[in-house]
Symmetry: C2
Subunit: 206 residues, 2 copies
């Protein structure tokens, strides 16, 4: 494992030759390859090229392709899609939905990153040997859907949502809309088109 500086205390440098690359920068490059190519479509050759590191150094620092993908997903969660967790902290249920979907519309069509969400539409149909990656992505999808549901359950206790609202279905509906928007973005839909979809949804808020 490579050396990682502690944030709080000054640490002695490790004994061997120091790394010539920055761990987080390299992971960011890997993330962009996986994001645009998918897990299967990203070859180690392309990853190596993009990360600017020799292949044995990748394996030493990040593990195999599957582990590298997991670590890239972690960085994806903490970076590009951190807005999802933030949206949950909006004061009302409707504002949570509005923030989540509006930010998604912008994010999914951002011109400086690949179109579509890695988690929403990654590894849906895959070849043999991708089961772990598929399950990991399914768990992440469940994760934000559950976060929405719990937030809506909270809203019900605050009389922010009517008692007859089915939070399970509402959360799944919003997750479904987000996943569909991800397909639309990857298929060429514009930011304005996705915003129009979000507004149509919000105009019928329960």
């Amino acid at each position: 494992m490579k050396f990682m500086a502690m944030s709080t205390s000054q640490t002695k440098r490790p004994r061997g030759r120091p790394s010539a690359f920055d761990y987080e920068e390299a992971l960011e490059k890997a993330l962009l390859v996986f994001w645009s190519r998918g897990y299967e479509g990203a070859s180690m050759a392309e990853l190596t090229e993009a990360m600017g590191i020799n292949r044995p150094s990748i394996y030493a620092a990040f593990g195999n392709k599957e582990e590298l993908f997991s670590k890239a997903l972690g960085r994806y969660m903490a970076g590009p899609v951190a807005y999802v967790a933030e949206a949950m902290r909006e004061p009302t249920a409707k504002q949570v939905a509005e923030k989540f979907l509006t930010q998604s519309a912008l994010f999914l069509t951002n011109e400086s990153t690949p179109r579509g969400c890695m988690i929403a539409v990654g590894a849906l149909f895959s070849g043999e040997g991708c089961e772990r990656v598929q399950q990991e992505l399914i768990a992440y999808r469940q994760g934000y859907e559950n976060a929405l549901r719990k937030r809506f359950e909270l809203a019900k206790t605050q009389n922010d949502l009517k008692q007859d609202v089915n939070t399970h279905t509402l959360a799944k509906y919003i997750a479904t809309l987000h996943q569909g928007m991800s397909v639309q973005a990857a298929s060429g839909a514009t930011k304005d088109e996705l915003i129009a979809i979000v507004q149509l949804f919000l105009s019928n808020w329960p």
Copy 2:
């Protein structure tokens, strides 16, 4: 190209050795492999195995992997997803949407076929050399979205839909919902959960 019997007139058999397999049956097997594995994830080895044909016979009868995929897509359109074109012929716009989405909920979670729609969520993120397949799938997605839009435009001329309805957005919204449901189905959602989503949408019909 292999021999294909004419439907109307009795045709003389061709000169060489006759095919040992049925063209449409073999294509159906190929379709199921592409459907569950995706274009990239389906290897020629797995296709060969499933189709029960030697590899040179596949190439002779169907062309290369890309052409085989296109032909399988054609069979998919004429078979499993023929319900989409049928839904367009429902008498009212709301019934079109209801039929399309309800049938989709059943179709996407059908236990005898792979989960999710090949067209809706196929080849979203892919490696190099898949551009043609990606574009073909995008065109199919546009196809059913356009069919919905035109059907809703017709509904407006019949005073079946209010004049202030944006048919472009409504069609894209329904397509987006369908694509999201495809992700949900591939991620393990049940038929009842998808039906609940469809009903929530229909309860807010414009």
